[in-house]
Symmetry: C2
Subunit: 326 residues, 2 copies
C-alpha cells in the first residue's frame, strides 16, 4: 500500500436521516461502503464521533491503515465554510457553526475537506460521471429542494462568501409562490420534486376524471414525482400539462445558468431524473432556442447525472486532491 | 520613464458611435484622453486602424514612447473571446469574428487585451472605484440594455465559454415581456433604462392626470428615466408606482446575483444611478429581507459606481496587468 496510486480516500455523505461512508480508490472506484443513522437530535460531537469511528473501522476492516488514506471529504447539507470545514448552518440536521473538520480529525487523523453536498455532487460528476473530462459544469439536483453546484476550471466554484451558488434560489417567475427560503418564486418553488408533487395534487383535486387518481391509488398521499410523467405517457391531459409546465420551469432555471456560467455541460440529478430523455430532450430543445446568443455562442448540453446512489460518497471523496486525477 | 511605476497603459472604450481613448498612469489616474467617431459602417480594418493610430499619437503627444506603454486594453460591446482578443459578435457595431487584438497591434505594438465592456467596467470599479479593495464584485449597468460583469478573486469571471455572464438575460418574472435577446422576461426587459422609459410612456398614456405629462413637456418622445423619479418625488401616484416597480424588478435581479455569487459588493452603473440612495436604500433593504440565509450569511451592499464618464477607459485599462496594482 505504499504506492500512491493505491492510496484511498474516505467519502462521507452526511444526510438528515443517514450517514453514508465509503472508501474510494483509484479512478474513484468504490472499494467498500457502510451507513449509520444520523440521529440528528444528538449533540454534534456524538454524531461526528460515530462518523469518524465508523470510517476508521471501515478502513481497518478493508486492510487499510491511516497512512494509506489521503484524506476524507464530507458533503454536508446547508451552508458550509469550506476554508475552515465549519458547517455554518444546516436546517436538515439543525447545526449551527459546527466545526465538522476539526471534530472529525479527532477520530480520523487525515486531512478533512468539507463542502456543501450539492457542490460535492457536481464535482463528483466531473471526476467520475456525466461530466467526466469537462472543465466547467453546472449541476442541479431536483429533490425535496433544488440544490446546485458549479465547477469552474475543475474546481468547485463557491462565490465570494459562504452561502453563494444557491442555484435553487434564483427567481424564475412572478406567480407569487412562497419558497422555503422566505422569498417568493424561486426555482425551487417550481422545479423541485416536492413542487411537482404539490402541483399534481392540486391538479388532481380539480380534475376528478384525471388518470392521476388511478395512478396514486385514489389517495393523494401516494402522489410522487413519477406519477405525472406516467399519466402524461398514458395520454392524460392533466399529466401532460403538469409535465409541460414542470419542464418549462426547469428550462427557465437552466437557461439562466447557461447565460451566467456558459458551462461545458449541465447535469441534472435526483430521483426525477429517472425520466431520462423525457426530461433532457425538451430541455435541450428549449436551450437551443432560448439561450442568449444561441446562434453564435456555445450552447451547453443538458444530461442526466451518472453516479446514482453512490453520488454522495463519490462527490465527497472528490473533495480530496488526488494528483493522478487532476 | 524607465521606472516601471511610471509606465502607462492605454484604455480604449469602443462604442457604437464613438471610441474613447485614454492614457492611464499609476493608480489608474487618467493622464490624457481623446475620442474619435466609430464610423461603424466602415470595414473593421479601418475602424481599428483609426483606433490604433489615434492611441499611438496620443502617447507621443504626451511624451510617452511605445516602450513606456505596458499594454492596451479594449472594452468592446458584444461577445468577446478574451483568450484570442477576437470580437465574436457585436450587434452595436455589427462585427462578426473580428480579430481586434491582432489588428490593433499593427498600429500599437504592445500587448493588447480585449474584453466585454461591462466586464471591463466591473474590473474598473474594483481597481479604482466603488469596489476598490474588494476581491469579489458584481456589476450591473442600467442603460439601453442591462450589462453585467463579475469579478472573482480580483479577476474578471467569464464563465466556461464566451457568451457567459449575460446578467441582463436571467429571467426574473413571467409577465411575458419580450426581451431583445428573443427570450421573454429577462432582467433587461424590466430593469434597463429603456424598459423604465417604456413603462413610463404606457403609464402616462393611461393617466392623463399624471405629472409625468408636465415633466416631459406634454410630449412622450421626451420621456427619460429620470422623469418617473422626479414625478415620484413630487408626489405623483404614477411616478411612485413606476419607481416602486422598477426597484422591485432590479431588486429581484440583484438578489439572484447575491444568491449565486455572494460577492463582497454589488455595484450599479449607468445614467439612472444618478438617483443614488433613492435606488440603493430600498435595494439594500430588499436584499436584507430576501437574500438567501440573510440572517446568518453575508449580505452584500449595493452601491453606485464611481468611475463615471471615465468608466470605459479605466475599465479597459484595468485589463492590462500592472504589478503594483495587484
Amino acid at each position: 500500500m505504499s504506492d500512491n496510486k493505491n492510496k484511498v480516500v474516505v467519502g462521507i455523505d452526511l444526510g438528515g436521516t443517514g450517514i453514508k461512508i465509503g472508501i474510494v480508490g483509484k479512478d474513484y472506484g468504490l472499494i467498500a461502503q457502510t451507513s449509520i443513522p444520523t440521529g440528528a437530535q444528538r449533540p454534534y460531537e456524538e454524531i461526528i464521533a460515530d462518523m469518524g469511528k465508523t470510517a476508521a473501522a471501515l478502513l481497518e476492516e478493508n486492510g487499510f491503515e491511516i497512512k494509506d488514506c489521503l484524506g476524507a471529504g464530507v458533503g454536508s447539507p446547508g451552508t458550509v465554510d469550506s476554508s475552515t470545514g465549519v458547517v455554518l448552518y444546516s436546517n436538515n440536521i439543525r447545526w449551527d457553526n459546527v466545526p465538522l473538520a476539526e471534530e472529525l480529525r479527532k477520530y480520523l487523523p487525515v486531512p478533512v475537506y468539507v463542502n456543501n453536498d450539492a457542490n460535492c455532487a457536481a464535482l463528483g460528476e466531473v471526476v467520475k460521471g456525466a461530466a467526466k473530462g469537462c472543465r466547467n459544469a453546472a449541476f442541479l439536483t431536483l429533490g425535496t429542494g433544488v440544490g446546485g453546484g458549479i465547477v469552474i476550471d475543475g474546481k468547485i466554484f463557491e462565490g465570494g462568501h459562504p452561502g453563494g451558488v444557491e442555484l435553487g434560489h434564483i427567481r424564475i417567475r412572478s406567480d407569487g409562490r412562497t419558497c422555503t427560503c422566505g422569498r417568493a418564486d424561486c426555482l425551487e418553488a417550481y422545479a423541485s420534486a416536492s413542487a411537482l408533487i404539490d402541483d399534481a395534487k392540486k391538479m388532481a383535486e380539480h380534475h376528478p376524471e384525471s388518470k392521476l387518481w388511478e395512478l396514486c391509488g385514489h389517495d393523494l398521499e401516494n402522489m410522487n414525482a413519477k406519477i405525472p410523467f406516467d399519466a402524461a405517457e398514458a395520454g392524460d391531459a392533466c399529466g401532460k400539462t403538469l409535465v409541460e409546465n414542470y419542464i418549462e420551469y426547469l428550462a427557465d432555471g437552466i437557461t439562466d445558468l447557461a447565460n451566467i456560467f456558459r458551462p461545458d455541460i449541465i447535469v441534472l440529478g435526483g430521483g426525477i431524473c429517472a425520466q431520462g430523455k423525457k426530461l433532457t430532450d425538451p430541455l435541450n430543445q428549449y436551450l437551443k432556442e432560448n439561450c442568449f446568443g444561441a446562434s453564435i455562442a456555445y450552447v451547453p448540453q443538458v444530461v442526466i447525472a451518472q453516479n446514482g446512489n453512490d453520488a454522495g460518497i463519490i462527490g465527497a471523496a472528490s473533495l480530496v486532491p488526488r494528483k493522478e486525477n487532476q
